[in-house]
């Protein structure tokens, strides 16, 4: 895959394309493998009445409840599986999970944002300014507030994000080189 960047020859491109198609096929099969794995592990636990087996039973039942109607009736708009199971069951459940974050964030903010050190005060003040600046009436509170939020996002935030991105990229390159050169072999089960 790396070679194709340096040698734009049809033969190399063809090999790279083939490898890419393999990757897509392998990833697709990983879903099948993952599903089989879920069934094997949880099915065994239910069979042996292991710890938390009723939850595992619900998981296995929900798995079949989603998969079988999906296979039988399809997943397009208007199909039974899409409307009853996906649109009216899974979507509200997933949205509820996401929405509950608002409650937990409020509770965590009350307990965790205590100004105990100067670093904590920087964090808390920044959080307050950004939260105030992100609401539609921020300019009514103080005309300069949206501009300050933009500055926080564009300067300190971007500087930190770039540092993280560059650091992570260098780390990935180093790890990749170690794997290619055989220095890193833990993925083979060796030290």
């Amino acid at each position: 895959m790396i070679v194709q960047f340096f040698i734009p020859h049809p033969v190399v491109n063809d090999i790279a394309n083939r490898l890419q198609n393999w990757a897509i096929i392998v990833i697709s099969f990983s879903y099948v493998l993952g599903s089989a794995n879920i069934l094997r592990i949880n099915g065994e636990l239910v069979y042996r009445r292991g710890s938390g087996w009723p939850y595992k039973l619900v998981l296995v039942a929900a798995f079949f409840l989603m998969v079988i109607p999906g296979l039988l009736f399809g997943i397009k708009e208007g199909s039974w599986a899409n409307d009853r199971l996906f649109a009216y069951t899974y979507t509200p459940l997933a949205s509820t999970m996401y929405a509950s974050l608002a409650f937990f964030i409020a509770s965590a903010a009350f307990r965790a944002f205590r100004i105990r050190t100067w670093q904590a005060s920087v964090l808390a003040i920044t959080a307050l300014v950004v939260m105030l600046g992100r609401v539609p009436i921020s300019h009514l509170i103080w005309d300069e507030l949206p501009g300050i939020v933009d500055w926080i996002m564009n300067v300190p935030n971007t500087v930190a994000q770039r540092g993280i991105l560059i650091g992570a990229a260098l780390g990935a390159i180093a790890t990749g080189l170690k794997v290619i050169l055989g220095i890193e072999r833990s993925y083979l089960g060796r030290d």
Binding site: N13, N17, Q20, N21, A23, I24, I27, S28, Y31, I75, K76, E77, N82, F86, A87, Y90, T91, A94, S95, M97, Y98, A99, A102, F103, I105, A106, S107, A109, F110, R111, F113, R114, I115, R116, A124, A127, L128, M131, L132, R134, V135, P136, I137, H139, P146, D150, M153, N154, N157, T158, Q161, R162, L165
Partner: protein, 279 residues
């Protein structure tokens, strides 16, 4: 204030916090505040880029989110599609998230077919899901037809007039990604924009935006919509008020509750510390 009262307040039952938040977010359901956000530069840039495209331009939309982020990103998806239809652009929609196909299909039908009466296969097409994440992104750069041989409904893409002459990213004027995480905007920047030379516009959940703003500043993203606030700004810009503008009331109230609790927590903390110092 007595030490015991302060201690009680410091260890306040979290259910009071939950109740306050519930009242705050429910308040706008009964009393509409009608708050509309001011347009920020990344949203303006997104809007201006679409406005600059000539009629009939071909746009590739990758709608990569799940029902969990539907509340935040669905209004964005709808308003972006709405703007594309207003501008009479031709749109090809795909998704790389396995939980998205039916949800995105609903949005495409709602806007392109039902609201604007556009013709499927000519003005717009929905190719559905292809699993493979970054591999699919790169594969589309080589051959979109081989990556998506048929659309969501099983029709071969060769029989769709909109796909005439389309081989890879090269035939698209812009790529729009509505992204809730991986795979999404970050991967499109890393694997697609520079390599295949296609401009990228992104709409992302608010939690991802601190990371993506670095890409916007570097010019790798031509425009960026930030969560539900970005969607509300966009709805205001295209003059189609929808769910995002409605959600602004609830979000504003929620933010104020969190701010109030942060301030309250610190006041109690400092009073407790002062009392302890005295004793």
């Amino acid at each position: 204030m007595g030490q015991s009262t302060l201690q009680k307040m410091e260890k306040m039952d979290r259910r009071w916090v939950f109740l306050a938040m519930a009242i705050a977010v429910a308040f706008p359901l009964f009393f509409k505040l009608g708050l509309a956000p001011k347009t920020t530069p990344p949203v303006r840039a997104f809007y201006d880029y679409i406005e600059s495209l000539p009629e009939g331009s071909l746009v590739l939309c990758s709608m990569d989110y799940d029902p969990g982020s539907k509340a935040e990103l669905n209004p964005m998806c709808l308003s972006v599609l709405d703007h594309l239809m207003q501008r009479k652009l031709r749109v090809v929609v795909i998704t790389l998230w396995s939980t998205a196909p039916a949800m995105v299909e609903g949005n495409v039908n709602e806007v392109c077919r039902d609201k604007y009466g556009r013709l499927y296969g000519v003005d717009y097409a929905y190719l559905g899901l292809k699993e493979g994440r970054e591999a699919v992104m790169v594969a589309m750069g080589k051959s979109l037809r081989r990556t998506f041989p048929s659309d969501f409904y099983g029709t071969t893409v060769d029989s769709l007039p909109i796909m005439n002459g389309v081989e890879n990213y090269g035939q698209f004027d812009v790529l729009i990604n509505v992204s809730a995480g991986y795979p999404g905007t970050k991967e499109y920047v890393q694997y697609v924009t520079s390599r295949f030379d296609i401009p990228l516009l992104s709409g992302a959940s608010a939690v991802s935006v601190p990371e993506y703003s670095a890409y916007y500043q570097s010019g790798q993203l031509r425009g960026l919509l930030t969560g539900i606030t970005g969607a509300a700004e966009y709805e205001a810009l295209i003059n189609v008020p929808g769910l995002a503008i409605t959600a602004m009331d609830g979000q504003t109230m929620g933010h104020f509750v969190i701010i109030a609790f942060i301030l309250f927590g610190n006041i109690v903390y400092f009073m407790t510390r002062r009392n302890r110092g005295r004793s």
